[in-house]
Amino acid sequence: MQNPYLPYPVRIAEIITETEDKNLKTFKFTFLKKEDEENFKYRSGQFSELSVTGKGEIPIGIASSPTEKGFLKFTVNKVGLVSSHLHTMKVGDIMGIRGPMGNSYPWDILEGKNVVIIGGGFAFTTLRSSIIYMLNPENRPKFKEINVIYGARTPGMLLYKEELASWEKRDDIKMHITVDAANDPNWKYNVGFVPTITEKKAPPADKDTYAIICGPPIMIKFTQPVLDKLGYTHDHIIMSLENRMKCGIGMCGRCNIGKEFVCKDGPVFTLAELNKTPKEY
């Protein structure tokens, strides 16, 4: 019997401080054992439990894409016990990873469709994974138009700045980067909250257009009416939830919304599905 609680041992290969407040770091991990790497087959939108020995585990969305081989990447906000300790760790340190967990974005449905990605703050991690995945030369032909609306408080709070800049230059992805307020006179992109930019830039709704939206509750609260106004039906709006978790495999009982476990049946749900469950997220 395979033990789903036993993490794969990994080594921290690289740490990148992402934001000007230094509260977000991206960790790149390599597996200690080749066979574990081979077993770890994931899709964009899934997450893992990062295990810091002696401190505990935290569920974190996988920020790398399955098309990037040889490592996994996670971007972690410094919040409490485990994430703060992780922020003190160094390249070369050993820890663990369990997963991949959860259901991922619905890639079988998204194929052949227009995809609109709407992200805010640091909830851009699995969206990065998705963009890298779709832009992979083998995959790009499988999708129609790709729009990305991504906002942060200030330019310094955006994640993955170099990649954003490189996507801006491409013609097979339409980027709409925005900040609440630009403190940088050279800022050449949008200024305004995500809902406002969505209203201006998101493509019109149709049966072949799906929106994936991830961000803080307040952003979601104000973006959803905009999508409604644009005519997006609730089964075309895809969201990823973040409930408190422990086991990550649907057993410990804490992450449920109604009969669904966010860790196992989610974290990705369509708004139409969420409309049928208690709003306990």
Binding site: M1, Y5, I94, P217, I249, G253, R254, K264, T277
Partner: protein
């Protein structure tokens, strides 16, 4: 069906209990301080078979309140520093003697959570598989028992390997599984009797007990209502008003299985363990950001009953997540009663 008889007077019974402990760690209901009865390792004590429901359910025999899963060292001079390893587990067979049919059935309810197509909890499953359940039928229901209407019953055999029926001076024992057969061999209880006659005697005991139930739980309409209809019902505020969020109900319940995972360090060594947790506690769902989707007690009380009486029912279509042992009814300090709540849910109609 094989039926075995043990005469109580002959010493055969006590002898067998002793014998089987050569092969099993045997548990049975024993009196602790004052009037508190719980399942304990028997040793040379005789289980108290008059007590019906122990305070704590026997779930801890399979699913300990605290259980070490993994171990590690934080000592940087060691090669395996920070590497998680499986902790050794005591795999000795266990026998639970005198477990009541409701409690035995509770393991089947929990098994659907721990033994799934996608993931298997090796701690729960291996412990469950190593355990033989020697149950004792109830000749008299207690005043708070409603096992029959919960879908089980005082002579229910699901989840049992053996069913002992008490005829005062002797027991008749139905041998239900090969595991049960094995235990009877180990205890040298081998007096096989004519099963037609024995089964008829057992059946009449069963009917007589079933006729004595004074209380029940209403569940017949739960399936046809939507989750949101029940979730948004107005009675939750009133029903949860008195709750202290003490967690007694989840602690004593045989079908509550929620747990937490914690690392515990001692010097440079440490263990990752599972501990019982409760949906009645605000910390259960508190996010690192301070946001809490079930931050008030009304939400938590609703979660407990919605899980037992609706979410579980809808998820598995195998009845409710309650065997009707009545522990939570008896021990709740403010008389929150699952029968009353189920009645309200069952009879509720949202007005549109």
């Amino acid at each position: 069906m094989k039926v075995i008889r043990i005469d109580r007077g002959e010493g055969k019974f006590r002898e067998g209990l002793k014998l089987l402990q050569n092969s099993y760690v045997a548990f049975g209901p024993l009196k602790e301080d004052r009037e508190v009865y719980n399942f304990k390792i028997l040793g040379d004590k005789t289980p108290d078979l008059n007590i019906q429901n122990t305070y704590l359910s026997p779930k801890g025999i399979v699913f300990p309140q605290s259980e070490v899963m993994l171990k590690y060292t934080l000592d940087e001079t060691k090669e395996d520093c920070n590497l998680m390893k499986e902790a050794e587990k005591d795999k000795k067979p266990k026998a639970v003697f005198g477990i009541r049919p409701c409690d035995a059935a509770s393991f089947l309810i929990a098994k659907r959570n721990f033994d799934t197509a996608d993931y298997k909890d090796p701690y729960w499953i291996s412990s469950y598989e190593a355990t033989t359940f020697a149950g004792l039928a109830c000749n008299e229901p207690c005043s708070t028992c409603f096992c029959k209407s919960a879908g089980y019953g005082p002579f229910n055999e699901e989840g049992l390997d053996l069913l002992f029926v008490d005829f005062n001076s002797y027991f008749l024992i139905k041998v239900l599984t090969p595991k049960g057969e094995e235990l009877m061999k180990k205890a040298n209880w081998q007096n096989v009797v004519d099963s037609d006659k024995a089964l008829a005697d057992i059946l009449s005991k069963k009917t007589s007990c079933e006729d004595k139930f004074t209380t029940s739980i209403a569940t017949s309409n739960l399936k046809s209502k939507t989750i949101l209809e029940l979730y948004n019902a107005p009675f939750w505020e009133e029903e949860s008003f008195a709750c202290l969020n003490c967690g007694t109900c989840t602690f004593v319940c045989p079908t509550c299985w929620c747990f937490d995972i914690q690392d515990e360090n001692c010097g440079c060594d440490g263990v990752r363990m599972k501990n019982w947790d409760s949906c009645m506690f605000p910390l259960f769902t508190l996010h690192g950001t301070g946001h809490n989707p079930r931050g008030n007690k009304q939400q938590r009380v609703r979660q407990r009953f919605m899980h037992k009486l609706k979410y579980y029912l809808d998820k598995y279509d195998k009845g409710i997540q309650c065997v009707g042992c009545g522990r939570c009814v008896r021990l709740c300090p403010v008389n929150i009663d699952i029968r009353r709540i189920s009645e309200k849910m069952n009879g509720y109609k949202a007005c549109n």
